[in-house]
Protein backbone atom coordinates (compact mmCIF):
# COMPACT_ATOMS: atom_id res chain seq x y z
CA UNK A 1 0.00 0.00 0.00
CA UNK A 2 1.13 3.50 -0.71
CA UNK A 3 2.36 5.71 2.15
CA UNK A 4 2.23 9.46 1.86
CA UNK A 5 3.23 12.15 4.33
CA UNK A 6 2.45 15.83 3.80
CA UNK A 7 3.99 18.68 5.73
CA UNK A 8 4.85 16.37 8.61
CA UNK A 9 6.25 18.23 11.62
CA UNK A 10 7.14 16.97 15.08
CA UNK A 11 8.38 19.19 17.87
CA UNK A 12 9.75 17.95 21.19
CA UNK A 13 9.70 20.81 23.65
CA UNK A 14 11.47 23.64 21.89
CA UNK A 15 13.35 21.41 19.42
CA UNK A 16 12.06 20.37 16.01
CA UNK A 17 12.75 16.71 15.30
CA UNK A 18 10.95 16.70 11.97
CA UNK A 19 10.26 19.91 10.05
CA UNK A 20 7.65 20.08 7.30
CA UNK A 21 8.55 16.85 5.53
CA UNK A 22 6.61 15.51 2.53
CA UNK A 23 7.25 12.37 0.53
CA UNK A 24 5.59 9.32 -0.98
CA UNK A 25 6.45 5.64 -0.70
CA UNK A 26 4.94 3.94 -3.73
CA UNK A 27 3.09 0.65 -3.53
CA UNK A 28 5.50 -2.27 -3.34
CA UNK A 29 8.53 -0.03 -3.04
CA UNK A 30 11.52 -0.59 -0.73
CA UNK A 31 12.57 2.87 0.34
CA UNK A 32 15.44 3.86 2.61
CA UNK A 33 15.42 6.89 4.92
CA UNK A 34 19.06 7.83 5.21
CA UNK A 35 20.62 10.33 7.56
CA UNK A 36 23.06 10.74 10.43
CA UNK A 37 21.90 9.93 13.95
CA UNK A 38 19.65 12.62 15.33
CA UNK A 39 18.43 13.65 11.88
CA UNK A 40 14.82 12.78 12.68
CA UNK A 41 14.48 9.76 10.43
CA UNK A 42 13.45 7.42 13.23
CA UNK A 43 10.88 9.97 14.37
CA UNK A 44 9.39 9.98 10.84
CA UNK A 45 9.07 6.19 11.04
CA UNK A 46 7.45 6.35 14.49
CA UNK A 47 5.05 9.05 13.31
CA UNK A 48 3.93 6.88 10.40
CA UNK A 49 3.51 3.93 12.78
CA UNK A 50 1.46 5.99 15.21
CA UNK A 51 3.95 5.60 18.06
CA UNK A 52 4.31 9.39 18.08
CA UNK A 53 1.69 12.06 17.45
CA UNK A 54 2.65 14.67 14.84
CA UNK A 55 2.62 18.35 15.80
CA UNK A 56 1.20 19.08 12.36
CA UNK A 57 0.92 17.49 8.94
CA UNK A 58 -0.92 14.51 7.52
CA UNK A 59 -0.12 10.85 7.08
CA UNK A 60 -1.90 8.70 4.50
CA UNK A 61 -1.70 4.93 4.20
CA UNK A 62 -3.35 3.53 1.10
CA UNK A 63 -4.91 6.92 0.39
CA UNK A 64 -6.63 7.06 3.79
CA UNK A 65 -5.68 9.70 6.34
CA UNK A 66 -4.51 7.81 9.44
CA UNK A 67 -3.67 10.68 11.79
CA UNK A 68 -6.60 9.85 14.04
CA UNK A 69 -6.03 6.10 14.02
CA UNK A 70 -4.16 4.54 16.94
CA UNK A 71 -1.06 2.46 16.36
CA UNK A 72 -3.21 -0.66 16.86
CA UNK A 73 -5.60 0.39 14.10
CA UNK A 74 -3.02 1.32 11.47
CA UNK A 75 -2.18 -2.26 10.50
CA UNK A 76 1.53 -1.63 10.16
CA UNK A 77 4.43 -3.99 10.79
CA UNK A 78 7.24 -2.42 12.80
CA UNK A 79 10.74 -3.83 13.28
CA UNK A 80 12.59 -2.23 16.17
CA UNK A 81 16.27 -1.45 16.15
CA UNK A 82 17.01 -3.82 19.02
CA UNK A 83 14.33 -6.25 17.82
CA UNK A 84 12.21 -5.90 21.00
CA UNK A 85 11.38 -9.61 20.95
CA UNK A 86 9.29 -10.84 23.86
CA UNK A 87 11.94 -12.51 25.98
CA UNK A 88 9.50 -14.67 27.91
CA UNK A 89 7.99 -16.16 24.75
CA UNK A 90 9.37 -18.72 22.32
CA UNK A 91 10.09 -17.85 18.70
CA UNK A 92 6.79 -19.48 17.74
CA UNK A 93 4.80 -17.47 20.31
CA UNK A 94 6.60 -14.26 19.37
CA UNK A 95 5.53 -14.66 15.75
CA UNK A 96 2.04 -15.78 16.79
CA UNK A 97 1.56 -12.80 19.15
CA UNK A 98 -0.18 -10.48 16.68
CA UNK A 99 -2.30 -13.33 15.32
CA UNK A 100 -3.56 -14.26 18.80
CA UNK A 101 -4.42 -10.61 19.47
CA UNK A 102 -6.36 -10.58 16.19
CA UNK A 103 -8.09 -13.79 17.31
CA UNK A 104 -7.06 -16.03 14.44
CA UNK A 105 -8.01 -19.65 15.07
CA UNK A 106 -5.33 -22.05 16.25
CA UNK A 107 -5.01 -23.92 13.02
CA UNK A 108 -4.50 -20.75 10.96
CA UNK A 109 -1.99 -19.38 13.48
CA UNK A 110 0.07 -22.54 13.31
CA UNK A 111 0.00 -22.57 9.51
CA UNK A 112 1.00 -18.90 9.27
CA UNK A 113 3.83 -19.22 11.80
CA UNK A 114 5.26 -22.32 10.14
CA UNK A 115 5.02 -20.60 6.76
CA UNK A 116 6.96 -17.59 8.10
CA UNK A 117 9.55 -19.76 9.87
CA UNK A 118 10.24 -21.43 6.52
CA UNK A 119 10.30 -18.13 4.65
CA UNK A 120 12.78 -16.66 7.15
CA UNK A 121 15.00 -19.77 7.14
CA UNK A 122 14.16 -20.32 10.80
CA UNK A 123 12.83 -23.88 10.44
CA UNK A 124 13.13 -25.89 13.62
CA UNK A 125 13.79 -22.88 15.84
CA UNK A 126 10.15 -22.35 16.88
CA UNK A 127 10.66 -23.64 20.41
CA UNK A 128 13.76 -21.60 21.15
CA UNK A 129 13.74 -18.48 23.29
CA UNK A 130 15.17 -15.20 21.93
CA UNK A 131 18.28 -15.43 24.10
CA UNK A 132 19.13 -18.75 22.46
CA UNK A 133 19.36 -17.20 18.99
CA UNK A 134 22.12 -15.41 17.10
CA UNK A 135 21.77 -11.74 16.23
CA UNK A 136 20.84 -12.48 12.63
CA UNK A 137 18.22 -15.02 13.69
CA UNK A 138 16.65 -12.58 16.16
CA UNK A 139 16.46 -10.01 13.42
CA UNK A 140 14.61 -12.44 11.17
CA UNK A 141 12.23 -13.40 14.01
CA UNK A 142 11.49 -9.68 14.47
CA UNK A 143 10.68 -9.32 10.77
CA UNK A 144 8.58 -12.50 10.81
CA UNK A 145 6.64 -11.24 13.83
CA UNK A 146 5.96 -7.93 12.10
CA UNK A 147 4.87 -9.63 8.86
CA UNK A 148 2.68 -12.31 10.49
CA UNK A 149 -0.62 -10.36 10.68
CA UNK A 150 -0.17 -9.30 7.02
CA UNK A 151 0.44 -5.61 7.61
CA UNK A 152 -0.25 -3.16 4.80
CA UNK A 153 3.22 -1.62 5.20
CA UNK A 154 6.48 -2.71 6.83
CA UNK A 155 8.50 -0.14 8.79
CA UNK A 156 12.03 -1.01 9.93
CA UNK A 157 14.22 1.03 12.26
CA UNK A 158 17.94 0.43 11.58
CA UNK A 159 17.16 -3.18 10.68
CA UNK A 160 20.81 -4.19 10.47
CA UNK A 161 22.23 -1.84 13.06
CA UNK A 162 22.81 -4.37 15.80
CA UNK A 163 24.51 -7.23 13.96
CA UNK A 164 28.14 -7.62 12.94
CA UNK A 165 29.45 -6.69 9.49
CA UNK A 166 29.38 -10.12 7.87
CA UNK A 167 25.87 -10.99 9.05
CA UNK A 168 24.75 -7.52 8.00
CA UNK A 169 25.81 -8.19 4.42
CA UNK A 170 23.89 -11.50 4.38
CA UNK A 171 20.82 -9.87 5.88
CA UNK A 172 20.84 -7.12 3.26
CA UNK A 173 20.85 -9.58 0.41
CA UNK A 174 18.23 -11.63 2.20
CA UNK A 175 16.01 -8.59 2.72
CA UNK A 176 16.18 -7.66 -0.96
CA UNK A 177 15.13 -11.21 -1.92
CA UNK A 178 12.37 -11.19 0.69
CA UNK A 179 11.05 -7.89 -0.61
CA UNK A 180 11.11 -9.16 -4.18
CA UNK A 181 9.10 -12.21 -3.07
CA UNK A 182 6.54 -10.49 -0.85
CA UNK A 183 6.38 -7.09 -2.49
CA UNK A 184 5.08 -5.40 0.66
CA UNK A 185 5.56 -1.62 0.74
CA UNK A 186 8.59 -1.15 2.98
CA UNK A 187 10.29 1.81 4.55
CA UNK A 188 13.51 1.45 6.50
CA UNK A 189 15.77 3.79 8.39
CA UNK A 190 19.54 3.65 8.25
CA UNK A 191 22.56 5.84 8.94
CA UNK A 192 24.71 3.67 6.67
CA UNK A 193 24.79 5.14 3.17
CA UNK A 194 26.24 1.99 1.65
CA UNK A 195 23.36 0.00 3.10
CA UNK A 196 20.79 2.48 1.82
CA UNK A 197 22.35 2.40 -1.66
CA UNK A 198 22.46 -1.37 -1.83
CA UNK A 199 19.07 -2.22 -0.42
CA UNK A 200 16.68 0.50 -1.53
CA UNK A 201 15.12 1.26 -4.86
CA UNK A 202 14.90 4.86 -3.79
CA UNK A 203 16.57 6.87 -1.02
CA UNK A 204 15.41 9.83 0.99
CA UNK A 205 18.23 11.74 2.65
CA UNK A 206 17.55 13.51 5.95
CA UNK A 207 19.46 16.06 7.90
CA UNK A 208 18.37 17.94 11.00
CA UNK A 209 14.73 17.00 10.54
CA UNK A 210 14.63 18.22 6.95
CA UNK A 211 14.30 16.24 3.75
CA UNK A 212 17.45 16.98 1.74
CA UNK A 213 16.91 14.87 -1.35
CA UNK A 214 14.82 12.00 -2.67
CA UNK A 215 15.88 9.88 -5.61
CA UNK A 216 17.43 6.68 -6.86
CA UNK A 217 20.77 5.72 -5.29
CA UNK A 218 22.52 6.72 -8.54
CA UNK A 219 20.77 10.12 -8.62
CA UNK A 220 21.62 10.92 -5.05
CA UNK A 221 25.20 9.82 -5.52
CA UNK A 222 25.90 11.48 -8.84
CA UNK A 223 23.75 14.56 -8.44
CA UNK A 224 23.63 15.58 -4.82
CA UNK A 225 21.01 18.30 -4.43
CA UNK A 226 22.63 19.96 -1.44
CA UNK A 227 26.04 20.32 0.12
CA UNK A 228 24.92 18.08 2.96
CA UNK A 229 24.04 15.25 0.57
CA UNK A 230 27.33 15.72 -1.28
CA UNK A 231 29.27 15.39 1.94
CA UNK A 232 27.16 12.63 3.44
CA UNK A 233 26.85 10.27 0.47
CA UNK A 234 30.16 8.74 -0.46
CA UNK A 235 33.36 10.66 -0.26
CA UNK A 236 33.74 14.08 -1.88
CA UNK A 237 36.37 16.78 -2.02
CA UNK A 238 34.73 20.10 -1.30
CA UNK A 239 36.65 23.34 -1.86
CA UNK A 240 35.53 26.95 -1.67
CA UNK A 241 36.60 29.88 -3.80
CA UNK A 242 35.63 33.24 -5.27
CA UNK A 243 34.45 33.71 -8.83
CA UNK A 244 36.78 35.79 -11.02
CA UNK A 245 36.24 36.20 -14.75
CA UNK A 246 33.81 33.30 -14.80
CA UNK A 247 36.13 30.95 -12.92
CA UNK A 248 36.07 29.80 -9.30
CA UNK A 249 39.59 30.35 -8.04
CA UNK A 250 40.79 27.94 -5.37
CA UNK A 251 44.51 28.52 -4.98
CA UNK A 252 46.06 27.50 -8.26
CA UNK A 253 42.97 25.51 -9.23
CA UNK A 254 40.38 27.06 -11.53
CA UNK A 255 36.87 25.77 -12.10
CA UNK A 256 34.75 27.31 -14.87
CA UNK A 257 31.56 28.74 -13.43
CA UNK A 258 29.56 30.19 -16.29
CA UNK A 259 26.59 32.25 -15.24
CA UNK A 260 27.96 33.24 -11.84
CA UNK A 261 28.94 36.82 -11.20
CA UNK A 262 32.42 37.88 -10.13
CA UNK A 263 33.09 38.11 -6.42
CA UNK A 264 30.54 35.39 -5.56
CA UNK A 265 31.68 32.73 -3.13
CA UNK A 266 31.06 29.21 -4.42
CA UNK A 267 31.67 25.65 -3.26
CA UNK A 268 32.99 23.10 -5.70
CA UNK A 269 32.77 19.37 -5.11
CA UNK A 270 34.41 16.45 -6.87
CA UNK A 271 34.57 12.74 -6.15
CA UNK A 272 38.02 11.29 -5.37
CA UNK A 273 37.98 9.16 -8.53
CA UNK A 274 37.79 12.35 -10.60
CA UNK A 275 41.17 13.43 -9.20
CA UNK A 276 43.82 11.98 -11.51
CA UNK A 277 47.31 11.71 -10.09
CA UNK A 278 50.63 10.82 -11.82
CA UNK A 279 54.26 10.53 -10.71
CA UNK A 280 55.32 12.45 -13.78
CA UNK A 281 55.34 16.13 -12.81
CA UNK A 282 54.49 17.16 -16.37
CA UNK A 283 51.65 14.71 -16.96
CA UNK A 284 48.96 16.97 -15.47
CA UNK A 285 48.94 20.71 -15.04
CA UNK A 286 48.59 20.94 -11.25
CA UNK A 287 51.40 20.18 -8.84
CA UNK A 288 51.18 18.64 -5.38
CA UNK A 289 52.95 16.46 -2.88
CA UNK A 290 51.85 12.91 -2.04
CA UNK A 291 51.07 12.81 1.66
CA UNK A 292 49.56 9.36 2.30
CA UNK A 293 48.52 6.21 0.51
CA UNK A 294 45.66 4.17 2.00
CA UNK A 295 44.90 0.63 0.91
CA UNK A 296 41.11 0.13 0.76
CA UNK A 297 40.99 -3.49 -0.42
CA UNK A 298 39.46 -2.90 -3.83
CA UNK A 299 41.32 0.35 -4.46
CA UNK A 300 43.79 2.85 -3.11
CA UNK A 301 43.17 6.28 -1.72
CA UNK A 302 45.85 8.92 -2.21
CA UNK A 303 46.02 12.06 -0.16
CA UNK A 304 47.80 14.95 -1.85
CA UNK A 305 48.60 18.47 -0.73
CA UNK A 306 49.10 21.45 -3.01
CA UNK A 307 51.61 24.23 -2.39
CA UNK A 308 48.68 26.34 -1.09
CA UNK A 309 48.03 23.74 1.61
CA UNK A 310 44.89 22.35 -0.03
CA UNK A 311 44.47 18.65 0.86
CA UNK A 312 42.64 16.51 -1.71
CA UNK A 313 41.70 12.86 -1.87
CA UNK A 314 42.13 10.74 -4.95
CA UNK A 315 40.94 7.20 -5.57
CA UNK A 316 42.68 4.81 -7.89
CA UNK A 317 41.96 1.19 -8.74
CA UNK A 318 44.62 -1.45 -8.15
CA UNK A 319 45.62 -1.92 -11.79
CA UNK A 320 46.18 1.78 -12.25
CA UNK A 321 48.01 2.11 -8.97
CA UNK A 322 50.44 -0.65 -9.93
CA UNK A 323 51.46 1.19 -13.05
CA UNK A 324 53.09 3.80 -10.87
CA UNK A 325 55.73 3.61 -8.21
CA UNK A 326 54.40 6.13 -5.74
CA UNK A 327 56.61 7.08 -2.83
CA UNK A 328 55.01 9.00 0.01
CA UNK A 329 56.46 12.50 0.10
CA UNK A 330 57.24 12.70 -3.62
CA UNK A 331 56.04 15.43 -5.97
CA UNK A 332 53.11 14.47 -8.22
CA UNK A 333 50.96 16.16 -10.84
CA UNK A 334 47.19 16.01 -10.82
CA UNK A 335 44.03 17.16 -12.54
CA UNK A 336 40.37 17.29 -11.65
CA UNK A 337 38.43 15.80 -14.55
CA UNK A 338 34.89 16.30 -13.37
CA UNK A 339 33.36 18.57 -10.75
CA UNK A 340 30.15 20.18 -9.60
CA UNK A 341 29.35 23.66 -8.41
CA UNK A 342 27.46 22.90 -5.18
CA UNK A 343 24.13 24.59 -4.56
CA UNK A 344 24.09 27.58 -2.26
CA UNK A 345 22.50 27.48 1.19
CA UNK A 346 19.44 29.17 -0.32
CA UNK A 347 18.85 26.09 -2.45
CA UNK A 348 18.67 26.14 -6.22
CA UNK A 349 19.83 23.40 -8.54
CA UNK A 350 23.38 22.23 -8.52
CA UNK A 351 25.20 22.64 -11.80
CA UNK A 352 27.10 19.75 -13.25
CA UNK A 353 30.08 20.74 -15.28
CA UNK A 354 32.58 18.68 -17.24
CA UNK A 355 35.97 20.16 -16.51
CA UNK A 356 36.95 22.13 -19.57
CA UNK A 357 39.24 19.75 -21.35
CA UNK A 358 41.96 19.04 -18.85
CA UNK A 359 45.24 17.64 -20.07
CA UNK A 360 44.07 14.59 -22.00
CA UNK A 361 45.35 11.34 -20.61
CA UNK A 362 44.81 7.64 -21.20
CA UNK A 363 42.85 7.34 -17.98
CA UNK A 364 39.27 8.36 -18.49
CA UNK A 365 36.82 7.56 -15.69
Amino acid sequence: MKIEVRGLTKKFGSGTAVGNVSFVVNEGELLGLLGPSGSGKTTVLRLIAGLEVPTSGDIFIDGKRVNDLTVQERNIGFVFQHYALFKHLTVFDNIAFGLKIKKWNRHDIEQRVLELLALMSLDGLGRRYPHQLSGGQRQRVAIARALAPRPSVLLMDEPFGAVDAKVRQELREWLIRLHTDLNVTSLFVTHDQEEAMEVSGRIIVFSKGKLEQAGSPADVYEEPATEFVARFIGSMNIVEGIVRRGQVQVGSLEFPAPGFSDGQKLQVGFRPYYVKVAEDATRYRQQAKLRHVYFLGVAYRLEIETADGLVLRSRMNKEEFRRYRFVVGQAVSFAVTHFRILPQESGGPSTDIEAGKPIPGPLTP
Binding site: A49, L51, V71, Q72, I76, G77, F78, F80, H82, Y83, A84, L85, F86, K87, H88, L89, F97, G98, I101, K102, Y129, P130, H131, R138, R145, A146, P149
Partner: protein, 269 residues
Protein backbone atom coordinates in the same frame (compact mmCIF):
# COMPACT_ATOMS: atom_id res chain seq x y z
CA UNK B 1 45.27 -19.37 57.70
CA UNK B 2 42.55 -20.37 55.27
CA UNK B 3 41.17 -22.91 57.75
CA UNK B 4 41.27 -20.36 60.51
CA UNK B 5 39.12 -17.94 58.50
CA UNK B 6 36.66 -20.66 57.56
CA UNK B 7 36.63 -21.74 61.20
CA UNK B 8 35.78 -18.23 62.37
CA UNK B 9 32.90 -18.01 59.93
CA UNK B 10 31.56 -21.37 61.09
CA UNK B 11 31.87 -20.43 64.74
CA UNK B 12 30.09 -17.15 64.18
CA UNK B 13 27.38 -18.96 62.25
CA UNK B 14 26.97 -21.60 64.98
CA UNK B 15 26.86 -19.14 67.88
CA UNK B 16 24.57 -16.67 66.19
CA UNK B 17 22.19 -18.86 64.23
CA UNK B 18 22.41 -22.61 64.58
CA UNK B 19 22.88 -22.65 68.37
CA UNK B 20 19.87 -20.52 69.27
CA UNK B 21 17.64 -22.30 66.77
CA UNK B 22 18.60 -25.75 68.00
CA UNK B 23 18.23 -24.68 71.62
CA UNK B 24 14.84 -23.14 70.89
CA UNK B 25 13.75 -26.31 69.14
CA UNK B 26 14.87 -28.46 72.08
CA UNK B 27 13.04 -26.22 74.52
CA UNK B 28 9.83 -26.37 72.44
CA UNK B 29 9.85 -30.11 72.79
CA UNK B 30 11.23 -30.16 76.37
CA UNK B 31 7.82 -31.22 77.71
CA UNK B 32 7.12 -33.55 74.84
CA UNK B 33 5.48 -33.42 71.47
CA UNK B 34 2.03 -33.29 73.04
CA UNK B 35 2.87 -30.10 74.98
CA UNK B 36 4.27 -28.53 71.82
CA UNK B 37 1.10 -29.38 69.94
CA UNK B 38 -1.06 -28.13 72.82
CA UNK B 39 0.75 -24.79 72.82
CA UNK B 40 0.48 -24.12 69.11
CA UNK B 41 -3.15 -25.24 68.95
CA UNK B 42 -4.34 -23.17 71.89
CA UNK B 43 -7.04 -20.66 70.92
CA UNK B 44 -4.70 -17.74 71.69
CA UNK B 45 -1.95 -19.17 69.47
CA UNK B 46 -4.35 -20.07 66.67
CA UNK B 47 -5.86 -16.60 66.82
CA UNK B 48 -2.37 -15.14 66.59
CA UNK B 49 -1.52 -17.22 63.54
CA UNK B 50 -4.83 -16.35 61.85
CA UNK B 51 -4.44 -12.64 62.53
CA UNK B 52 -0.85 -12.65 61.24
CA UNK B 53 -1.99 -14.50 58.13
CA UNK B 54 -4.85 -12.03 57.55
CA UNK B 55 -2.64 -8.99 57.91
CA UNK B 56 0.05 -10.53 55.72
CA UNK B 57 -2.41 -11.43 52.96
CA UNK B 58 -4.08 -8.00 52.89
CA UNK B 59 -0.71 -6.21 52.99
CA UNK B 60 0.61 -8.45 50.21
CA UNK B 61 -2.35 -7.72 47.92
CA UNK B 62 -2.16 -3.96 48.59
CA UNK B 63 1.59 -3.93 48.00
CA UNK B 64 1.28 -5.94 44.80
CA UNK B 65 -1.19 -3.41 43.40
CA UNK B 66 0.22 -0.14 44.73
CA UNK B 67 3.85 -1.24 44.65
CA UNK B 68 3.57 -2.14 40.95
CA UNK B 69 1.70 1.09 40.25
CA UNK B 70 4.31 3.18 42.09
CA UNK B 71 7.17 1.40 40.34
CA UNK B 72 5.51 1.95 36.94
CA UNK B 73 5.04 5.65 37.61
CA UNK B 74 8.56 6.10 39.00
CA UNK B 75 10.20 4.21 36.14
CA UNK B 76 8.14 5.62 33.29
CA UNK B 77 6.86 9.09 34.17
CA UNK B 78 8.72 12.33 34.56
CA UNK B 79 6.90 14.54 37.03
CA UNK B 80 7.51 17.28 39.53
CA UNK B 81 8.74 15.82 42.83
CA UNK B 82 9.77 12.48 41.31
CA UNK B 83 13.15 12.38 43.04
CA UNK B 84 11.48 13.35 46.31
CA UNK B 85 9.03 10.43 46.07
CA UNK B 86 11.85 8.13 45.05
CA UNK B 87 13.90 9.15 48.10
CA UNK B 88 11.04 8.98 50.58
CA UNK B 89 10.16 5.41 49.54
CA UNK B 90 13.24 4.16 51.42
CA UNK B 91 12.25 6.00 54.58
CA UNK B 92 10.59 2.96 56.24
CA UNK B 93 13.96 1.19 56.03
CA UNK B 94 15.59 3.96 58.01
CA UNK B 95 12.84 4.68 60.52
CA UNK B 96 12.36 2.41 63.53
CA UNK B 97 9.04 0.50 63.34
CA UNK B 98 8.20 1.77 66.82
CA UNK B 99 8.34 5.31 65.48
CA UNK B 100 6.14 4.27 62.56
CA UNK B 101 3.57 2.93 64.99
CA UNK B 102 3.81 6.02 67.15
CA UNK B 103 3.17 8.24 64.11
CA UNK B 104 -0.05 6.31 63.44
CA UNK B 105 -1.13 6.71 67.07
CA UNK B 106 -0.64 10.46 66.77
CA UNK B 107 -2.34 10.64 63.36
CA UNK B 108 -5.46 8.67 64.33
CA UNK B 109 -5.67 9.75 67.98
CA UNK B 110 -9.03 11.11 69.17
CA UNK B 111 -7.65 14.67 69.20
CA UNK B 112 -6.85 14.83 65.49
CA UNK B 113 -9.28 15.63 62.69
CA UNK B 114 -8.68 12.26 61.08
CA UNK B 115 -9.20 10.45 64.38
CA UNK B 116 -12.39 12.40 65.12
CA UNK B 117 -13.71 11.70 61.64
CA UNK B 118 -13.29 7.94 61.99
CA UNK B 119 -14.58 8.16 65.54
CA UNK B 120 -17.83 9.77 64.38
CA UNK B 121 -18.20 7.14 61.70
CA UNK B 122 -17.73 4.51 64.44
CA UNK B 123 -14.79 2.99 62.60
CA UNK B 124 -12.17 1.80 65.00
CA UNK B 125 -8.73 2.39 63.50
CA UNK B 126 -6.35 2.32 66.45
CA UNK B 127 -6.07 -0.86 68.55
CA UNK B 128 -7.82 -2.69 65.71
CA UNK B 129 -7.08 -4.35 62.39
CA UNK B 130 -6.95 -1.15 60.24
CA UNK B 131 -4.05 0.38 62.18
CA UNK B 132 -2.20 -2.93 62.24
CA UNK B 133 -2.52 -3.19 58.46
CA UNK B 134 -1.40 0.43 58.04
CA UNK B 135 1.63 -0.14 60.29
CA UNK B 136 2.63 -3.29 58.40
CA UNK B 137 2.08 -1.51 55.06
CA UNK B 138 4.37 1.28 56.19
CA UNK B 139 7.27 -1.06 56.96
CA UNK B 140 6.83 -3.27 53.88
CA UNK B 141 6.07 -0.69 51.18
CA UNK B 142 9.65 -0.28 49.88
CA UNK B 143 10.17 -3.96 48.98
CA UNK B 144 7.96 -4.12 45.89
CA UNK B 145 8.90 -0.68 44.59
CA UNK B 146 12.63 -1.22 45.08
CA UNK B 147 12.43 -4.57 43.34
CA UNK B 148 10.34 -3.53 40.34
CA UNK B 149 11.62 -0.03 39.49
CA UNK B 150 15.09 -1.09 38.25
CA UNK B 151 13.54 -4.06 36.42
CA UNK B 152 11.17 -1.73 34.59
CA UNK B 153 13.98 0.63 33.73
CA UNK B 154 16.04 -2.21 32.22
CA UNK B 155 13.01 -3.53 30.37
CA UNK B 156 12.43 -0.22 28.58
CA UNK B 157 9.33 0.41 26.49
CA UNK B 158 10.27 -1.17 23.16
CA UNK B 159 8.64 -4.54 23.86
CA UNK B 160 5.45 -2.77 24.89
CA UNK B 161 5.52 -0.66 21.73
CA UNK B 162 6.10 -3.80 19.68
CA UNK B 163 2.98 -5.32 21.24
CA UNK B 164 0.99 -2.18 20.35
CA UNK B 165 2.12 -2.30 16.71
CA UNK B 166 0.85 -5.90 16.70
CA UNK B 167 -2.59 -4.68 17.75
CA UNK B 168 -2.51 -5.19 21.52
CA UNK B 169 -4.52 -2.70 23.60
CA UNK B 170 -3.12 -1.22 26.82
CA UNK B 171 -4.55 -3.94 29.05
CA UNK B 172 -3.22 -6.69 26.76
CA UNK B 173 0.18 -4.98 26.71
CA UNK B 174 0.26 -4.94 30.51
CA UNK B 175 -0.91 -8.52 30.98
CA UNK B 176 0.96 -10.14 28.09
CA UNK B 177 4.20 -8.17 28.04
CA UNK B 178 4.84 -6.03 31.13
CA UNK B 179 3.71 -8.46 33.84
CA UNK B 180 5.52 -11.51 32.42
CA UNK B 181 8.70 -9.47 32.19
CA UNK B 182 8.30 -8.54 35.87
CA UNK B 183 7.23 -11.97 37.11
CA UNK B 184 10.37 -12.93 39.02
CA UNK B 185 10.69 -9.45 40.44
CA UNK B 186 7.10 -9.73 41.68
CA UNK B 187 7.82 -13.09 43.29
CA UNK B 188 10.96 -11.71 44.91
CA UNK B 189 9.25 -8.56 46.17
CA UNK B 190 6.23 -10.54 47.40
CA UNK B 191 8.43 -12.96 49.34
CA UNK B 192 10.28 -10.15 51.08
CA UNK B 193 6.98 -8.45 51.87
CA UNK B 194 5.48 -11.62 53.33
CA UNK B 195 8.57 -12.40 55.40
CA UNK B 196 8.64 -8.89 56.80
CA UNK B 197 4.88 -8.80 57.46
CA UNK B 198 4.96 -12.09 59.37
CA UNK B 199 7.88 -10.97 61.49
CA UNK B 200 6.74 -7.40 62.18
CA UNK B 201 6.58 -6.65 65.90
CA UNK B 202 7.42 -3.08 66.95
CA UNK B 203 5.01 -1.07 64.84
CA UNK B 204 2.19 -3.55 65.38
CA UNK B 205 2.78 -3.67 69.15
CA UNK B 206 2.40 0.10 69.41
CA UNK B 207 -0.80 0.41 67.36
CA UNK B 208 -2.53 -2.84 68.35
CA UNK B 209 -2.61 -2.53 72.11
CA UNK B 210 -1.77 -6.28 72.19
CA UNK B 211 -5.27 -7.31 73.24
CA UNK B 212 -5.56 -11.07 73.79
CA UNK B 213 -7.74 -12.84 71.22
CA UNK B 214 -8.40 -9.52 69.50
CA UNK B 215 -5.28 -7.79 68.30
CA UNK B 216 -2.56 -10.22 69.32
CA UNK B 217 -0.58 -11.44 66.31
CA UNK B 218 1.74 -14.45 66.38
CA UNK B 219 4.80 -12.35 67.19
CA UNK B 220 2.92 -10.50 69.93
CA UNK B 221 1.78 -13.86 71.31
CA UNK B 222 5.41 -15.00 71.51
CA UNK B 223 6.31 -11.84 73.37
CA UNK B 224 3.34 -12.15 75.74
CA UNK B 225 4.04 -15.83 76.48
CA UNK B 226 7.66 -14.99 77.23
CA UNK B 227 6.69 -12.17 79.57
CA UNK B 228 4.27 -14.55 81.31
CA UNK B 229 7.07 -17.13 81.81
CA UNK B 230 5.32 -19.59 79.49
CA UNK B 231 8.55 -20.55 77.72
CA UNK B 232 7.21 -23.66 76.02
CA UNK B 233 4.45 -21.61 74.35
CA UNK B 234 6.89 -18.88 73.29
CA UNK B 235 9.32 -21.45 71.90
CA UNK B 236 6.68 -23.49 70.11
CA UNK B 237 5.07 -20.54 68.33
CA UNK B 238 8.47 -19.06 67.54
CA UNK B 239 9.64 -22.32 66.03
CA UNK B 240 6.52 -22.51 63.86
CA UNK B 241 7.04 -18.96 62.59
CA UNK B 242 10.69 -19.78 61.98
CA UNK B 243 9.72 -22.79 59.86
CA UNK B 244 7.39 -20.62 57.78
CA UNK B 245 10.10 -17.98 57.35
CA UNK B 246 12.59 -20.65 56.31
CA UNK B 247 10.19 -21.95 53.67
CA UNK B 248 9.69 -18.41 52.38
CA UNK B 249 13.43 -17.84 52.29
CA UNK B 250 13.85 -20.96 50.17
CA UNK B 251 11.28 -19.66 47.70
CA UNK B 252 13.12 -16.33 47.72
CA UNK B 253 16.44 -17.95 46.84
CA UNK B 254 14.89 -19.82 43.92
CA UNK B 255 13.20 -16.63 42.73
CA UNK B 256 16.45 -14.71 43.02
CA UNK B 257 18.28 -17.25 40.90
CA UNK B 258 15.55 -17.12 38.26
CA UNK B 259 15.39 -13.31 38.33
CA UNK B 260 19.15 -13.14 37.81
CA UNK B 261 19.02 -15.38 34.76
CA UNK B 262 16.17 -13.26 33.39
CA UNK B 263 18.26 -10.13 33.81
CA UNK B 264 21.24 -11.90 32.24
CA UNK B 265 19.05 -12.85 29.29
CA UNK B 266 17.88 -9.27 29.02
CA UNK B 267 21.50 -8.17 29.05
CA UNK B 268 22.40 -10.67 26.34
CA UNK B 269 19.78 -9.27 23.99
Amino acid sequence: MRWLLIGIVWLYFLVLLVGPILYMASQSFSEGLAAFWAEISRPEALHGFTLTAEITLIVLVLNLVFGTLTALVLARQQFWGRSLVSGVIDLPFAVSPVIAGFMLILLFGPDTMLGALFGQAHIKVLFALPAMILATLFVTFPFMVRELTPLLQTLGTEEEEAARTLGANEWQVFVKVTLPALRWGLVYGATLTVARAIGEFGAVLVVSGNILLLTQTATLHIYQSYVDFNYVAANAVALTLLAVSFAILTVLEIAKARAETTVAEAGAQ
